[in-house]
Symmetry: C2
Subunit: 316 residues, 2 copies
């Protein structure tokens, strides 16, 4: 049998086919184009799936199910998207609507939880049942799996580890609190610090790399400048790593998972971010004995598609 | 049937009898006296139980079991105390050793977890299955119950919510990290701030209440001074409440439990601490809709005894 996995994001709709060994055999992608209706977006997702099946000559009766990852709060049991700030619709019965295009068993889940499932089943946390997946991008998202099941708290909205304050009275977060981990460990935070530093140090490589056009600076610019031995950039990354580590140590002290998997844009930097964080984790974990493994996501951007495709296995 | 519950602390050994309706019918207490052997301490605990049975004319064949709460890391399955910084012994097979005195089924558990179980079964979180119990005393301890089971992470040492940094590079914590919640929300933290303020403001009521003998200041002194409208004390309590709230909001964002129960010495202050914290929680919780209830422990210091007595019900 084969399984469709769909990852609907604010920027792209991605779909893939997973075989019986949970290996992704093919994938495709199309722009989300924000502001469109749920019907248009779901239709595009279904078309991606169907064209993948056709291209790979897989008849539809060999397709077991479709799993869909969504960038927001979902009610997995009712099949509804409750809220997603990057999509222009909510309170939609996704399962019912998607079945109009592909009449197979449909499963939905939050995208960070899908990525956590993907990494647990086929990636960096393979073989584990207690996994925290952290995605470092525009924000800091978390997918928490306890004893093989997605953890979402008593009311379905838990797991918001990005909105754990690590700096009382610190930077303002998009959620309205001050000092959230997200305001220090997201790619957006790194971009903010890069821009502040460039404005302050016009002799820095960060400034030079964008020819003084500070609005062009993003997280990668800071890493690129550090590659040129820019001290300003290196200090920003050092501070960033420390703040990233604080949140991870917090989560390890609370959850003591088997593995913490780091995903999202920042994880493209690999060991350069993971190594200093892991050193802090070893030194600072409560009790002094680190049993949790820290790893970079091995499925990269595919983790969400793979995890979505695996939703039929029921992680609820 | 009846059930013995024992709470072994760094200061006192307490024991109680619980009836078939899980109501504590009698209790007794004796000093721990630090530095004594596990045999002496367990013997004292057993004597307390046996004298309670005798006094209440309950024959031993009406006693179902004994549950023991311990101030440290326990292996509930092996029945062993792994480590407790307030006791002078560790790696002791508590079940085997206690059976020498009372030959009944014996269960052991960490004391904060016992208190969480007590409050969930018979106290402020009665009827809930997802509860976080926070004890504010010398340190900040947590008992986390998810879906009716004690949560301890993949390796048995999780749940250390007190050692979640809320102030990067902040006050040094006993665990070696800087800025842990414990360093801001424990009674010890309140005492520290009271002493610092008294030294700085000799005209304050905090200073006057101890006749300038600053070492006599404890958490209660600060509350007493605030009762006398001491502005210095009121500001300390205000800041304390804010820091306490930060950790609670963090935990609610992550766990979204049904109830957070506040226990320990500080909770004697009741609404004066709970109300400002609850106001912050309502305002700052992620998503803006607070579904978690915040409550003061209703069993007070008995929560640990009651929870220990109920261990036979298996919360593992």
């Amino acid at each position: 049998m084969y399984y469709f996995g769909v990852d609907i994001g604010g920027t792209n709709i991605s779909a893939g086919i997973i075989d019986g060994k949970y290996k992704m055999t093919d994938k495709a992608c199309t722009p989300t184009i924000q502001g469109r209706s749920h019907k248009d977006i779901l239709e595009d997702a279904a078309k991606l799936c169907l064209s993948l099946a056709e291209k790979n000559e897989i008849p539809l009766d060999k397709i077991n199910s479709v799993g869909i990852g969504l960038p927001g709060l979902v009610d997995t049991k009712k099949g509804k998207l409750i809220y997603a700030n990057n999509l222009s619709f909510d309170h939609i019965d996704i399962i019912k609507e998607f079945k109009k295009f592909i009449d197979k068993p449909i499963y939905i889940e939050n995208d960070a939880n899908c990525a956590a499932i993907g990494e647990m089943m086929c990636g960096a946390a393979h073989g584990n049942k207690n996994v925290i997946y952290i995605t470092l991008g525009t924000g800091v998202g978390a997918g928490i799996i306890l004893n093989g099941k997605v953890f979402r708290g008593a009311f379905g909205g838990g797991g918001e580890a990005g909105h754990m304050v690590i700096m009382a009275e610190g930077e303002l977060c998009t959620c309205g609190r001050k000092g959230c981990w997200e305001a220090y460990a997201s790619a957006t935070a790194l971009r903010r610090e890069g821009r502040i530093a460039a404005a302050k140090y016009p002799n820095s490589e960060i400034y030079r790399l964008v020819d003084g056009n500070i609005k062009l600076i993003d997280a990668k610019t800071v890493f690129d400048a550090a590659d040129l031995n820019d001290e300003v950039a290196m200090e920003i990354i050092d501070t960033y790593s420390k703040h990233l580590a604080i949140g991870i140590v917090n989560l390890v002290n609370i959850f003591q998972p088997e593995t913490v998997v780091i995903g999202g844009g920042i994880c493209a930097q690999g060991d350069r971010v993971i190594e200093p964080v892991n050193n802090i984790l070893k030194e600072k974990v409560y009790g002094g004995v680190l049993k949790t493994k820290l790893a970079v996501a091995t499925l990269g951007n595919d983790a969400g598609i793979v995890g979505a495709a695996l939703l039929f296995k029921n992680f609820d």
